[in-house]
C-alpha cells in the first residue's frame, strides 16, 4: 500500500488547528490513513490505494477539515492559454493546467514532489497510465503543442544533465530514460510538449526540459498530465491542482484543441450519483433521513441535493473511486464512523455441512492416528530437487511457478512422501521408532480440467525403526482398508524410490489408489537416514469417489 510522509507542523498550519497526537491517532485511521510511524515531526502514513487524493499533506489536511464540517470547494479561472493536442499513439490523453501566485517553500516543493511520485508509482502504474510534468510557467511561451516526434531528430536538455541530447539518447543515457524508456520504445515517434518557441519542454513520461525547472523562485506553475487512461489523467490533474490551491495558488484552465474538439482542463465540475435513501438504509440497517445523509456526505466533501427521497450526491472532483451509489454509502459510513454501528448476528436458519472431502479426511486421520502415527503438516510448495532428484523420479516442470521467492519453494508438490522424508531427516536425534503421516492436498496435471490441473487429497506416512519391516505397514494398510470396507489388491511394482521387489501398487479393480514400499537406501542416504523406512502414499480423493459409487 502507498506510504507517504506528512509533516506534523505543516499539517497543523494547513488546517489551522493544533491537533493533539492522540487526536490524529484516532482520526486518521478512520479516514483510510493508517499511522505507521511517528518520529519527531514526521508522521508516516499508509493510505489505501483507492484514495490517491490522500497521498499528500494537502489532501489529508483537506479531509480533516471536511470531517470537522468545513466543506472545501475549488474554483478555476479561465486563462487565454491553449494547448494543441495532436495524435500521440504512445500516450493519447493529455490534460494541462496553470497555477498562479504560488509562494513556494521547501516543504511545499517536497510535498508536491512526494504527491507526484506516489501518484506515479501507484495510481499511474509506474508512469504507464498516467505521468505528471511540473514546469516553471514563466520559462515557456504559450501556446503549447502536444505531439509525437522522431526521437533521433528532436533534442532537448533534460533535467539533471548539462548537455542537449536527442530523445533517443535520453532514453539510452538518462537514468529516467533507462527506468521508463520501455513505455515509448515500441513507438516510432515519441511524445513531446513543444512551446511557441519550438522548444521541447517535456518528454513524457520520461523527463522534463531543464529550461522549465521549478525552483523556489517559481510563482506560476504549468502542470501537464499525459497517459493511456483518460480518467486517470484527469483525476491526477485534479488532485494536483487542488493541492496547489490548498497552498494558496490560483487554478487557471487551459483550453485544449484536439481533433475531436475543444475542452478545458482541469475540469473541477462534480459528477452526480443519484442514490436512493431507502437503498442507503437497507445496506446500513438504519433509518437515516435525507438531512442525516446530506450532513454526513458534506463531511466527506460532497455536495448533495435531495429530490423525492433520492440524494443526488456529488463527490469532490479529485475522487475517481465513486463508481456506484454503494461507494456513496461507504463515504456515509466513514463520516459516521464504523464503530458507531450496532453489531448484530442475524438469525438465518440453515443446516451446517462439512465438505465431503474434509469429512472423509477426518476419518482417514483418525485411522492413522489410531495406528500410532503422529500427524505433521508441510508446505504445498517444494522444489525439483526434493520432489524429483532425491526420489529418483523423472523431472516434471508442469507445476513450476514462474516467480518463486526462494529456491526451496519453486514447485507445487505432486506427492507428499518427499516432504515426509525431509521431516524425518530433521528428527534423527529423536527416539525411534518414528511413525508420521500427513493428510493434505497435492496437485497433478490434468489437460481436460479448466485449471489444467487437479487438486487432490492424499494421505502419506512413514514408519522408520531399527527393525522396520514392510509387513508391519502392509498389515496396517490392510486394516485401514478393512475399516473403510474395500480391500485393494496389492500388485508388486518397481518404483525408483522403493527397493526393487519391495514396492507395490494398491488397486481397486483397475484404478490405482495408492502405493507403498520400503524406501531405497540411496534415497535414505540423501536424507541422512540410517534406519529402514517404509513409506506409503494413498489417493484419498479417488478412494472417496470409488466408495461413493
Amino acid at each position: 500500500m502507498p506510504t507517504i510522509q506528512i509533516g506534523y507542523r505543516d499539517l497543523c498550519q494547513l488546517t489551522g488547528k493544533e491537533y493533539e497526537p492522540e487526536e490524529l491517532y484516532d482520526l486518521l485511521p478512520d479516514m483510510k490513513c493508517e499511522i505507521e510511524e511517528w518520529e519527531g515531526d514526521i508522521i508516516t502514513v499508509e493510505v489505501t490505494p483507492d484514495r490517491p487524493d490522500l497521498f499528500s499533506t494537502e489532501g489529508v489536511a483537506r479531509a480533516l477539515l471536511a470531517s470537522g464540517g468545513e466543506l472545501q470547494e475549488y474554483f478555476t479561472q479561465e486563462s487565454q492559454h491553449t494547448l494543441d493536442v495532436e495524435t500521440v499513439d504512445a500516450r493519447p490523453y493529455i490534460a494541462c493546467a496553470e497555477i498562479q501566485n504560488l509562494q513556494l517553500t521547501t516543504p511545499i516543493i517536497k510535498s508536491l514532489m512526494q504527491l507526484q511520485e506516489t501518484l506515479h508509482a501507484t495510481f499511474g502504474r509506474q508512469r504507464e497510465t498516467m505521468a505528471i510534468g511540473l514546469h516553471d510557467a514563466s520559462a515557456l511561451r504559450w501556446p503549447l503543442t502536444y505531439t509525437a516526434v522522431e526521437p533521433a531528430n528532436a533534442t532537448m536538455q533534460p533535467l539533471e544533465m548539462d548537455e542537449t541530447l536527442a530523445l533517443s539518447d535520453i532514453v539510452a543515457k538518462h537514468q529516467k530514460g533507462k527506468d521508463y524508456g520501455h513505455l515509448v520504445k515500441q513507438y516510432s515517434n515519441y511524445p513531446v510538449i513543444i512551446d511557441a518557441d519550438n522548444h521541447i519542454v517535456s518528454f513524457p513520461p520520461i523527463i522534463n526540459s531543464a529550461q522549465t525547472e521549478v525552483t523556489l523562485n517559481t510563482t506560476d506553475i504549468c502542470i501537464d498530465v499525459t497517459g493511456t487512461d483518460s480518467t486517470s489523467v484527469h483525476t491526477a490533474l485534479n488532485i494536483l491542482v487542488t493541492a496547489c490551491a490548498d497552498r494558496g495558488g490560483t487554478i487557471r484552465q487551459v483550453t485544449c484543441h484536439s481533433l475531436d474538439g475543444h475542452y478545458m482542463t482541469p475540469d473541477l465540475s462534480r459528477v452526480t450519483i443519484p442514490t436512493n435513501i431507502s437503498y442507503i438504509n437497507s445496506i446500513l440497517g438504519t433509518h437515516l433521513t435525507a438531512q442525516h445523509i446530506q450532513t454526513a456526505l458534506r463531511q466527506m466533501n460532497y455536495t448533495s441535493q435531495n429530490t423525492n427521497n433520492i440524494i443526488n450526491a456529488s463527490p469532490p472532483p479529485y475522487r475517481s473511486d465513486i463508481l456506484h451509489p454503494i461507494d456513496v454509502i461507504e463515504d456515509c459510513v466513514m463520516a459516521y464512523g464504523l464503530n458507531t454501528f450496532a453489531c448484530t448476528v442475524p438469525h438465518i436458519a440453515t443446516l451446517g455441512k462439512e465438505a465431503p472431502i474434509e469429512q472423509f479426511s477426518t476419518t482417514i486421520r483418525d485411522i492413522w492416528s489410531g495406528f500410532g502415527y503422529q500427524e505433521i503438516s508441510t508446505p504445498l510448495l517444494s522444489n525439483a530437487k526434493e520432489l524429483y532428484n532425491n526420489m529418483n523420479r523423472p523431472k516434471s516442470n508442469i507445476l513450476r511457478i514462474s516467480n518463486p521467492v526462494s529456491d526451496t519453494y519453486t514447485h507445487l508438490r505432486d506427492m507428499l512422501l518427499p516432504q515426509l522424508l525431509s521431516f524425518l531427516s530433521q528428527n534423527t536425534h529423536v527416539t525411534y521408532p518414528q511413525k508420521v503421516y500427513e493428510c493434505a492436498d497435492i496437485v497433478t496435471h490434468r489437460t481436460q480440467a479448466a485449471e489444467k490441473s487437479l487438486t487432490k487429497r492424499h494421505v502419506a506416512g512413514c514408519y522408520i525403526a531399527h527393525q522396520g519391516d514392510v509387513n508391519t505397514v502392509k498389515g496396517e494398510l490392510q486394516g485401514f482398508y478393512t475399516a473403510l470396507g474395500r480391500q485393494p489388491q496389492f500388485v508388486t511394482k518397481n518404483t525408483p524410490y522403493y527397493i526393487d521387489g519391495r514396492g507395490a501398487e494398491l488397486k481397486i479393480k483397475d484404478t490405482i489408489i495408492g502405493e507403498f514400499g520400503e524406501i531405497h537406501p540411496q534415497v535414505l542416504q540423501r536424507y541422512g537416514l540410517t534406519l529402514p523406512c517404509i513409506g506409503f502414499e494413498l489417493d484419498i480423493h479417488t478412494l472417496q469417489t470409488l466408495l461413493q459409487s
Partner: protein, 482 residues
C-alpha cells in the same frame, strides 16, 4: 515366603554356581550374564543367605605402553651401544632415538662423550653381548615373574612399568543355597497361558512399579490443524456450509469475478504466484454467460455502476495462478452454490519475505452470508462474534479499508489481553458489480480473516512457521491435546 521367592535370574545364577561345584569368580560368569546383572542378583541372593561373597585383592606389576614398546623394540641405550660398538661416532650424527639412548647410557656409565665423540666405556663393552639390568627386568615383568624392589623402582621411574590392583570376587553357594529346591522356589515374572490356566501353582513376583521407563507417544493430530478443526466445527454449528476450491486457479475466479480490474493497482493489493507452464487455463462453456457479465461489469458497468472503463481481456482472465485469496472460493460459490451461509478455511499462497510473522503459505478463514435483509450491522455482528468467540479477544474495533470487491470495506482489529491490538483481516459487503454479474440481488456479506493471526494470539505462538509447519517431532510428541 514371598521374600524367599526367586526371580528367574536368581535361579539361573544359583544354577550356574551349582554347575561350577558351588563357587565361581565373577569373571567366570560373564559369558552367561552381564556384569551388572551378576552384581545386582548377587546382592539379592546374599540377602536371602543363599550365597556368600569373597573378595581378594592382589597388586600386580605390569608393563606400561612405553614398557611394552621398549620390551618389543629394545631399549634406546641398546640402540646406542650397537651404533658405537665398532667405532666412536660424533654426537651430531646420532638419530633422535640414539640421543635418548646416549642420555640413558651415560647415566649407567655405559658410554661417554669426549670432544663430541661418543665412545663405549669398559662397562659398556661388557654389555654388548649380555642383557642390561633394565632388559632383564622388563622380561621378568612380561613373564609375570617378581622383580626386586630396586629394579621395580628403576623401571617405574622410567615409566616402563606400573602396579595395578586386581580384585577377584568369588561367589560361593551357602548351605541353604546348595539345598534349596530351585523349581518350587522360583517366582513368575512374564505370564504365559500355562501360568494363567494354573495360576494357583505359581507365585507372581512383584515389580518395581516406580521405576521410570521409556515414554510411548499416542498418534496425535497436528495441534494447529486441530485448532482449525475446532473453528470449523463452530462455523458448522452456526449453520455454515463448507466450500472447496482448486489450488491452481484461473485469475478469473481469483480476481476478475471479484471486480478487480486488469492492469490496475486494485488487482495488486497483494502479489500472486503464477504457474509457469501451462500458463493459461480454459473457461468452461457453461460459465460463458458469467464471463460475459463480468466483462460488462469491468468495461461499462452493470446496474447503476459506471464500471472500470477499460478493455477487458479474456486471455488475462485465463492466466493460471495459485489461489491467493479464498475469496476465489466465494466467487465460485456465487456461481454454483445457493446455500445462504458458506465458509472455507484453507491455505492461500502469496510471494512474501519469509520471517517470523510472514510465510508464503497461510490459512484464511473466508465466509459469505447472503440474504435479502442483511445489513452492515450484521457483518459487524459476525466479525465481533469471530473476534470474541474464536480468537478470545476482549474487545474488537473496525476501521474503514479498501478491497475492490467489497463496499463498504472493513478491517477487523481485535484486542488481545497480552499482545494488544492485532489486525486480523478484511471484510465488507460484496459490491453490486460482483453479485449482479452472477444474477444475485441479495446482499452478500463477506470476510477473509487471517486465521493464523487469530491462532498465534490464542495459542501464544510467536513464529508462524512453528505454528503451521513445525518440523520438530519432539515438539509434536510433547504437544498437549487440550
Amino acid at each position: 515366603m514371598s521374600q524367599q521367592l526367586l526371580h528367574p535370574v536368581e535361579r539361573a545364577l544359583l544354577l550356574a554356581l551349582r554347575q561350577r561345584e558351588g563357587q565361581a569368580t565373577v569373571s567366570e560368569l560373564t559369558d552367561e550374564f552381564d556384569q551388572s546383572q551378576i552384581m545386582r542378583t548377587a546382592d539379592w541372593l546374599e540377602e536371602k543367605e543363599l550365597i556368600t561373597r569373597q573378595q581378594e585383592t592382589q597388586e600386580k606389576v605390569q608393563l606400561t605402553n612405553r614398557g611394552k614398546d621398549a620390551y618389543g623394540d629394545g631399549v634406546p641405550e641398546r640402540a646406542l651401544l650397537q651404533r658405537v660398538q665398532k667405532q666412536q661416532v660424533p654426537v651430531s650424527q646420532l638419530s633422535e632415538r640414539e640421543k635418548i639412548g646416549l642420555a640413558q647410557a651415560a647415566k649407567q656409565q655405559l658410554a661417554t662423550v669426549i670432544e663430541k665423540q661418543v665412545q663405549l666405556t669398559e662397562k659398556g663393552k661388557q654389555y654388548l653381548n649380555t642383557s642390561l639390568p633394565v632388559e632383564k627386568g622388563l622380561r621378568k615383568v612380561d613373564e609375570g615373574k617378581k622383580v626386586d624392589t630396586e629394579t621395580y623402582a628403576y623401571l617405574q621411574e622410567r615409566g616402563l612399568v606400573t602396579e595395578e590392583t586386581h580384585v577377584t570376587r568369588t561367589l560361593l553357594l551357602s548351605k541353604k543355597g546348595q539345598s534349596i529346591d530351585l523349581e518350587t522356589a522360583t517366582g513368575t515374572t512374564q505370564l504365559s497361558t500355562n501360568h494363567i490356566q494354573n495360576w494357583e501353582d505359581y507365585h507372581f513376583l512383584p515389580y518395581d512399579m516406580t521405576k521410570p521407563v521409556e515414554t510411548q507417544y499416542p498418534g496425535k493430530k497436528h495441534p494447529y490443524l486441530q485448532f482449525l478443526r475446532r473453528v470449523k466445527q463452530q462455523l458448522i454449528a452456526m449453520g455454515f456450509k463448507e466450500m472447496t476450491s482448486p489450488l491452481v486457479e484461473l485469475e478469473f475466479w481469483n480476481f476478475d469475478a471479484l471486480f478487480q480490474p486488469q492492469g490496475h493497482p486494485a488487482r495488486e493489493l497483494h502479489d500472486k504466484f503464477e504457474i509457469a507452464k501451462p500458463g493459461y487455463g480454459t473457461m468452461p462453456k457453461e460459465k460463458q454467460s458469467y464471463v460475459h457479465q463480468v466483462k460488462k461489469a469491468h468495461e461499462e458497468g452493470i446496474g447503476e455502476s459506471c464500471g472500470w472503463r477499460y478493455r477487458w481481456s479474456q486471455k488475462k482472465a485465463k492466466r493460471l495462478m495459485i489461489r491467493s485469496q479464498n475469496t476465489a472460493a466465494s466467487a465460485r460459490a456465487l456461481a454454483e452454490d445457493t446455500h445462504p451461509k458458506l465458509f472455507t478455511i484453507n491455505r492461500v499462497l502469496r510471494p512474501d519475505t519469509i520471517d517470523k510473522t510472514h510465510f508464503i503459505e497461510f490459512y484464511q478463514m473466508e465466509g459469505i452470508v447472503r440474504g435479502p435483509e442483511l445489513t452492515l450491522q450484521h457483518l459487524l455482528g459476525y466479525l465481533e462474534h469471530f473476534g470474541k468467540e474464536i480468537a478470545g479477544a476482549d474487545a474488537v474495533t473496525f476501521r474503514p479499508s479498501y478491497f475492490p470487491f467489497t463496499e463498504p470495506s472493513v478491517e477487523l482489529f481485535i484486542h488481545h489481553p497480552q499482545l494488544g491490538w492485532i489486525e486480523v483481516g478484511g471484510a465488507g459487503i460484496f459490491r453490486p458489480e460482483v453479485t449482479q454479474a452472477f444474477d444475485i440481488s441479495d446482499t452478500v456479506l463477506a470476510w477473509g480473516l487471517g486465521i493464523d493471526r487469530l491462532a498465534m494470539a490464542q495459542l501464544n505462538v510467536e513464529d508462524i512457521r512453528s505454528l503451521v509447519f513445525p518440523h520438530d517431532l519432539a515438539y509434536l510428541r510433547d504437544s498437549q491435546v487440550i
